[in-house]
């Protein structure tokens, strides 16, 4: 997996690319956590437009980031969720913690 980020106001926008599975999250978990620690912003938005696959490892990954951000009173948001990922997210009910934004 790869990621790019930019700061937009009080949000950090992270563009993810690739498969969010066991192998993929190993590559980006530490980088994302460094961003959470370094920039104390109000929210992190994950742009999933270029995400090609998500499984339950991806859910665990999102919940982990959600917990880290919540400890800093910040939110985790999702954007451009592809249909395959959307189905996994809907099955788990994760949208009640991590909402979609336009």
């Amino acid at each position: 997996m790869e990621l790019e980020f930019k700061i937009v106001g009080s949000d950090i926008l992270v563009k993810l690319k690739g498969d969010i599975d066991e192998f993929g999250v190993r590559a980006i978990r530490a980088d994302i956590d460094r961003l959470i620690e370094k920039y104390n912003l109000k929210s992190m938005t994950l742009d999933m437009q270029k995400v090609t696959f998500v499984d339950s490892t991806g859910l665990g990954f999102l919940l982990g980031r959600y917990n880290k951000l919540r400890a800093k009173r910040a939110e985790l948001l999702l954007k451009n969720v592809p249909p395959q990922a959307d189905k996994v997210f809907r099955t788990s009910g994760i949208y009640s913690f991590v909402p979609i934004v336009e």
């Binding site: 498969d19 599975d21 066991e22 192998f23 190993r26 696959f53 998500v54 499984d55 339950s56 490892t57 859910l59 665990g60 990954f61 919940l63 982990g64 249909p83 395959q84 189905k87 996994v88 099955t91 788990s92």
Partner: protein, 142 residues
């Protein structure tokens, strides 16, 4: 006509993407929709991830993948087998959100996703001998 393949691979994270892709390619003869093939890929990924992460937590073991596709009935069967540590309490493991490794950021949704995304799932497991997950999916869309 029924077609099948068998393959054996090490429990390496890279093989998750390989396993779901090879099953998806093989299942194409059953004319699935994009959504149906994605459901199958997701379910296969869950079973293979379980084998890699849970069956062999501190070692590399073997994961066996068996797949059958019948283009007449449009049914695909996938069997993911490991020879790892096995599941102690299967009823618990099948519950949504149950995980033995919460600290490790596991969602506990693997089996629930397989159940939701396929037509049937069967899990057999024996401690210290391994686990077998069998799933079937019928492609119904025209």
């Amino acid at each position: 006509m029924k077609n099948f393949f068998d393959l054996t691979m090490p429990s390496d994270g890279r093989n998750e993407a390989f396993a779901r892709s090879v099953v998806a390619s093989f299942a194409i003869v059953c004319s699935p929709t994009v959504e149906e093939i994605n459901d199958l890929k997701t379910a296969v990924s869950e079973a293979v991830t379980n084998a890699i992460v849970h069956a062999y937590p501190n070692e590399v073991g073997l994961v066996k993948l068996h797949c059958e596709a019948d283009d007449a009935s449009r049914e695909v069967t996938v069997v993911v087998e490991d020879y790892g540590k096995g599941i102690e309490n299967l009823d618990e493991a099948l519950e949504p959100f149950f995980t033995t490794s919460r600290d490790d950021e596991r969602s506990g949704m693997g089996f629930t996703i397989i159940q939701t995304f396929t037509d049937s799932m069967c899990v057999t497991s024996k401690v210290s001998e391994g686990t077998t997950v069998t799933m079937k999916k019928v492609f119904r869309s025209c």
